[in-house]
Point group: C2
Amino acid sequence: MTAPTSRTSVRLAARPVGYPDDSTWDVVTEDVPAPGDGQVVVAVDHLSIDPAMRGWLNDVRSYVPPVGLGEVMRALGTGTVVASRHPHWTPGDTVSGMVGVTEVAVVDGDALQPTDLDVAPAPTWLGALGMTGMTAYFGLLDVGRAQAGDTVVVSAAAGAVGSVVGQLAKARGCRVVGIAGGPEKCTWLREIGFDEAIDRHDGPLLKQLRAAAPEGIDVYFDNVGGETLDAALATLRRGARVVLCGAISGYNEETLPPGPRRYLSLLVFRATMAGFVVFDYEDRYPEAVAEIGALVRGGRLVARETVATGGVAAFGQTLLDLYAGRSTGKLVLAV
Amino acid sequence: MTAPTSRTSVRLAARPVGYPDDSTWDVVTEDVPAPGDGQVVVAVDHLSIDPAMRGWLNDVRSYVPPVGLGEVMRALGTGTVVASRHPHWTPGDTVSGMVGVTEVAVVDGDALQPTDLDVAPAPTWLGALGMTGMTAYFGLLDVGRAQAGDTVVVSAAAGAVGSVVGQLAKARGCRVVGIAGGPEKCTWLREIGFDEAIDRHDGPLLKQLRAAAPEGIDVYFDNVGGETLDAALATLRRGARVVLCGAISGYNEETLPPGPRRYLSLLVFRATMAGFVVFDYEDRYPEAVAEIGALVRGGRLVARETVATGGVAAFGQTLLDLYAGRSTGKLVLAV
């Protein structure tokens, strides 16, 4: 494999207000930079499309610095090493890492992880076996302290993180309720073993939750915020744990959306609401990969991906499709 | 001491919408009921006036059942046993417990605790050595896990719970910032050892908090909710603990006030927000009484009470004075 000399990349042209649009991105064809010492050239094959991306565009202090104007958009991806100035990597190695929205990435070799395509195809290494799966695993088990017998409720349950959370919880002996948008997603959740699937378009959420979790929620894994979080807070069981993974419902709002009005339920139910950032668990990723990998290979965890096409030029639209809830499972973009 | 045969009591006449008013209460003169087996007759001398009282008037599921229409208003108080049909208590014993807003209470002897007036006067047994002090102790140390060197911020800091939280945190080696309303309260906080006192009427709270806690907050003990909670959430340090003790700013609102818009700070800062109910720690009250009692006797913790007069007939107005922030330290009503 010869290292390509030119590439198409997506760079941040302007910080969006509300939803990103065409003016947010510059799609440019450019020379591939020469790799420095310790760097690796990766031919990217798939990019991870993540809810957190919208937050990376805001010029505010957060758990990672914002993407700078003119910089290649930050993204996780998978690919194949085509040139290496790092002792650990040689051409032909398959890898994942923070490659950015580009066809050919030049990155520090230390920041790459190996992928094993015999275990699962590349998109799964961005989903159940990637950051998505790590987020589900540590959020559910470490932050949420889910135990066999617990009632676990997860929102955006047909999404990348949610679908792994639910299946992991089932594998650990929990009773699992998923909240998703639309009958097809709910049907799929039941197929992959969720005990109950609530269609959030199908009548008042609070009433549906109380019916699905009549004894209350032990662990609520929140991916959406907004009214869904409030309904869950009102349905907690004593000693419940609320895991804050994200709040996709508000990411594209121009002002800070309302907070959870029912947060004092935490007091009534002696409950805890905790946030986490998956990067903090990096040392323990192998433990999660081992457990999720075994479940995937054993057919006990369905790793589903929606693979969008169109290459890096389709990145902007694919991200909007994510926020519109058009995908099931992990959304990746084929490069 | 002879057991009195008549008493004045305050009974719940109507559930209030918003602030309670005269129509909320019936002030009645009535016969003292005869004590049943295991019951004790207590001549009440002081009543505890608590922010939580407003919540007890709402007909909703909470950590305790609501006060029923026509019932004597629930209240903690201190007094002297004047008659007893319980083996543990004899006339002359001084006690505290849930006596209700009445001059003469007939209560189960099992639900009373002894007070020692040689250690501190009766009002202190409703304050620093009562439920107030227990709330401060277990909230700060158990829920908040405050450690020496932590920056602890407490709201309503000149109030009953807040003033004990701050002084306990100082005694444990923390740096303590109090938020209170008005220069007199702030001056008092500095007198009793707070490192910083923020007057919430004195300019934007977020800016003041950032100046007072430049390295961020480790433990935020929240008594007020609303904008104060949001400002604290924006000022957390990584791994911070937010202790939800109450939200006095919203207790008299007719609709649920807005929730904390900045709750996703919990995610960015890997922080935890937890509620608690002090009654859960009943088995460990002696541990707290021992530590707080020693600090009080050693002059290292100032137990301040505001003693309102007017007897039980003044209960309604005294409760409104509490919500108006007119008291410093623990507010009690002399009967």
